[in-house]
Each structure stands twice: as C-alpha cells, then as structure tokens.
C-alpha cells in the first residue's frame, strides 16, 4: 500500500498576479506613465466618467483607455470617438481583469507616446478588488442609486481605493442616500481615501475630480527625487 506523504507548498495563490502587477508598476514608473484602475458596479458610470475626464484632460496629457468588458465593443467605440486610443480586452465571462491581461493590452498601445492610461475594469465590486493590475492609483465609483450601505457590503473594494467618486449626485434629491453617513463608513475602512462628489450628467463636481487626477499624473511625470 502506498504511503501518504505531505508536501509543503506555502505558496500564495495570488502571488503570480501580485509579482506581475509589481513589475508593471515599476515599468510604468520608469517610463513615467500613470495608470488608473477604475472600478464600479455595472451602470455606476465608469464610461461616462472616463468620457468626461478625457474631454477635460486630453489636451493636457497624451491619454489612452483599456476597456475590460465581458463581450462587447460598445465602450471602446465611445472612447475612440473622442480621438483617444482604446484597447478592448475581451474577457469572455471573466469577472475581473488581472495583471497579465493588462500586460497584453499594453502591446496594443504605443506606450512611448502616452502620459496616462485609464483602465475600465469589469463592472463588479467584488473580484476586481482582489486582483492588483499594477495601477498607480485605484479609483472606484459609487453611484447614488446604489445606496450608502455599499461600504458595509463590499469593504475590500473601499479599503483598496485611493479615491472614491460618488456619481449621479443629481439623484440625491428625494433619495434617502446620506452623504455624511457614507463618508463616515468609507473613512472607517480607509482613512486616507479622497472622496469626490460628481454628476457626470450635469458636470457638477467633475472639475475638482479632474484637477486631482491631473495632479496625480503630474506627480508621475515629475517624480520628486
């Protein structure tokens, strides 16, 4: 009878992805390219925020967009209409983007001609939080109709982001969404997070958001010694 043996592995499942994400981050820093990972629920306003952002920043920076969508080209086509290079990653049902998909998308872009890349992650507040893609900044959108209780349901997502964009503030009137309560819930998970309140529909608050983003892109372009 064969003897049962125990083999020690001690390997982190996410370690391959984390190692590759680290390499991507280093390479981007060396080439002074800013990479933003934008995450939200489906319908939260990722594409709308990207379009508003591009309209305000495309004359200041050389930008590109990587679109992660389950199986459509709709979002990439909207971006191309803004005269911005866009790569669509077809994930064929995957629930998140990972570092290797981002590395592949880079091959489709002329990287030396870029200052900033926005990645539109797959609409989902769970899985994208677990997979580092090597971004300079992680940003999430929470839209008002989703409710102010989302930090309680998706704590990991709120804890890994550098900035939170509260979108669809034009829906605040007449809703029971409580902004101060949301801020408190979010800051409890992530004391340093920046919070922006915007409406992609009316344009309210977008300038403050793009000002912050422009500052972050410039920090990558001119790193302090």
């Amino acid at each position: 009878m064969a003897e049962i043996r125990l083999i020690d592995i001690k390997e982190d499942i996410l370690s391959d992805n984390q190692a590759l994400a680290g390499q991507i981050r280093d390479a981007l820093r060396n080439h002074r390219i800013f990479l933003m990972n934008l995450m939200a629920s489906p319908g939260g306003g990722k594409t709308s925020l990207i379009l508003q952002t591009l309209r305000r920043l495309k004359d200041k920076f050389r930008m590109a967009v990587i679109e992660g969508d389950i199986d459509s080209q709709v979002d990439a086509e909207k971006v191309i209409r803004e005269d911005i290079p866009a790569v669509q990653i077809r994930t064929g049902g995957f629930c998140h983007l990972d570092a290797s998909m981002i590395e592949m998308a880079f091959k489709e872009l002329e990287m030396t001609a870029l200052d900033a890349i926005i990645v539109e992650n797959i609409g989902n507040l769970v899985c994208p939080a677990e997979f580092d893609i090597g971004a300079t900044r992680n940003v999430m959108i929470l839209s008002v109709p989703e409710g102010d209780d989302k930090p309680l349901k998706y704590p990991l997502m709120f804890s890994i982001c550098d900035a939170l964009v509260v979108n669809k503030t034009d829906y605040l009137e007449g809703s029971d969404f409580d902004l101060p309560v949301l801020r408190e819930r979010v800051r409890k998970l992530n004391p340093d997070i920046r919070i922006f309140e915007v409406s992609c529909k009316t344009g309210q608050g977008i300038d403050a958001w793009t000002q912050w983003l422009a500052g972050e892109i410039k920090t990558v372009q001119n790193p302090s010694p």
Partner: protein, 116 residues
Amino acid sequence: MHELSVMESILNIVVKHALKNDAKKILGISLRVGEMTDLVDEWMQRYFDYLSKETIAAGAVLKIERIPVIFQCESCGMDFPVNMKEIRDAACPACQGNKIRLKSGREFFIKNIEVI
C-alpha cells in the same frame, strides 16, 4: 465569485508540486484563506472537482482554514480581530479610535498537499 479562476491557479500549483515530488495522486489540499476574501468553501470544492477531473488531483479534498480579519489602530498601534458581520462598527478596543487599517484577512495560501 471568481472561484473558478482561483481554483484553476490552485490546480496548476498543486499538480506542479505533486509531479515534482513523483506523486501519483493528490488526496488532500490544505488552504489558508482570509475571511475577507469572498470565496465560499462549498463552491471552491465544486469548482475544484469540475476542473480537476482527469488530473492526478481528481477527488482531492480541500481543507480550508480561515484567517481572521485583523485591523491595526492608527492611533495606538494595537492589532485586533474584527468579525465580518460587525465590520461597520469596528473601532479599536483599547483607545476607541476609528482610524484603523486592514492588516490581515485577504490571504490565500496553499499550505501543503497530501499525496501518494
């Protein structure tokens, strides 16, 4: 939600280690998983069974040990565990500070495998 892709990574890693050690069959896999990862034990096993069919890991039993969610207080530096259900009211038990930072609970380790 992404049990399938995670289980695929596990399968690749355990099969690689088993073959390197001249094992014929994998009987059990010990995992350490953070409480904050949204992975459900039952689905992990089901997806693993589905993916491992016709491999040397077919039929292997997943033994999942959970790693608690630990926060660290930014004011006094104390580490303390937080129940996921009470995460909304999490505050430092020593100084009642609510500036706290996640320290553990997101891990996903393969500890060891049982083989013949």
